[in-house]
Symmetry: C2
Subunit: 302 residues, 2 copies
Amino acid sequence: MTQQQRETVARILHNSPVDLGGDVLEQRELFRQLVSANPVSDDVIAEPGTLGGVPAMSIEIAGAAPDGVVLYFHGGCFAVGSAQASVGLAANLARKAGVRVVSVDYRLAPEHPYPAALDDALAAYRALVDREQGAERIAVAGESAGANLATAVMLAAREDGGLPQPSCAVLFSPWADVTVPGRTHDAGLDPVINGDALRLRARDYLQGTDPLDGLVSPVHADLTGLPPMLIQAGSQEYLLDDAVRLAARAAADHVPVTLDVTPRVLHVFQAFAALLDEGDEALARAGGFLRTHLADGTADRA
Amino acid sequence: MTQQQRETVARILHNSPVDLGGDVLEQRELFRQLVSANPVSDDVIAEPGTLGGVPAMSIEIAGAAPDGVVLYFHGGCFAVGSAQASVGLAANLARKAGVRVVSVDYRLAPEHPYPAALDDALAAYRALVDREQGAERIAVAGESAGANLATAVMLAAREDGGLPQPSCAVLFSPWADVTVPGRTHDAGLDPVINGDALRLRARDYLQGTDPLDGLVSPVHADLTGLPPMLIQAGSQEYLLDDAVRLAARAAADHVPVTLDVTPRVLHVFQAFAALLDEGDEALARAGGFLRTHLADGTADRA
């Protein structure tokens, strides 16, 4: 009986005062309160630190022997959210995949427009590759705008002669097109995200950068050479179309890609795994995908 | 080193005299020769019979205890192919999924235009549901035009008050749009399928039926209520776009859907599992999907 669970989560989100189109300072605090209402298990060890000079949170499960590292990018339209707020979801991913997660506190807009967030993300990735002596045991992951950054990091690494690709990428509800074409069917079902909020946050992030640039809108990038990607989305979210189009782009560019859509759930429904079976099951599939590709130890199947 | 394997398979297909746009009687024989060049293991038991009055081949692995039944529809543009020719691929699927496969010898066009094939497919499904006393232990699957029929069977079952949905569906390289819009990027890479051949075979199949009818072009159907679907395709096939668009349609209609694209392989590359690691790995994922949903014993996750 997950319909009741879905209704509970939808009610939480409908009743939340978070409005991603609202005042950014106020929304950062409201977002923090919303996310911190989710329980984090006692066995989660989250330690602040830095990676490549960028603040980052290292997240592990006590007593587990992590096999690989996931570099994680939180969501929040490039304007809100934090590594701290991502601990619940990141810890659940660490548990399912048997890995350590490092969640990056990249700089936020509007104070720090593009490319500040990507610069931070890439600096953290470069430092992790150095530390791990290669990228075979590294995956990237992210949610919403963080999934955009995870993809942009792979594109930027490809352009940088010295940086290898990670073993794979897990993208939860990617915001993959900051032109915000707003094509998703039934977009009105989503209480979290709407086109007006996305357009406002895109303007704050871009501040003059072309929204068709592949490093800000990966659906418009040539994705050739990227490693296996798992893209998850909910059928009731505004950004469903971004997920589908990113998968289509990856497939056309000969990237191994899996698109995994769960019906009647919302944006980043994996964050509600404690309340929602679909979230827990999707995280289990993401964990299996990470285990498979981190164990392969190769950047692609070729 | 699967690049060499991919080149071997591409060479076999490039050198094959099969031309799906050619004379239908000649092509049926050439297709039979091409497919029968694939080895079938000694432990495969394939027995001809009937199901709901329709000729069908029952395929099992000797010594295995099958747990569930997959009703399978072979490919061949609705004009060529047979249950006998599908034995190799169907047996590999039976092995990976731990099931029995029943492959349906539906009537072919141009002698038998739509809805003959769908009538046969639905009669076989209805008989299987009767025999199994429900659809919880039944999945449907198919390749190319057969994946189209597998989808059409689910749509027809939905319209028929008395028929339940199968537990899930596995669709290899579905031909999902008989209007043949021909939009796939790099379509020239595909030696098996081209737009002219598909348009000719669509005319033979339709003989006046509207190609936008959802029962002949599932990308134009409302897919609401269908069970979990796994859609697999290769990034170098002409029908990649059909796979992506069918997944997008399913996602928008709140169907649990997984799109699984393997790079640099061709149409129904799973048929070459003996020569191609990617084919074997894709079949293993399809087998895992079938096991999960047949074990659930429920038509959907809701």
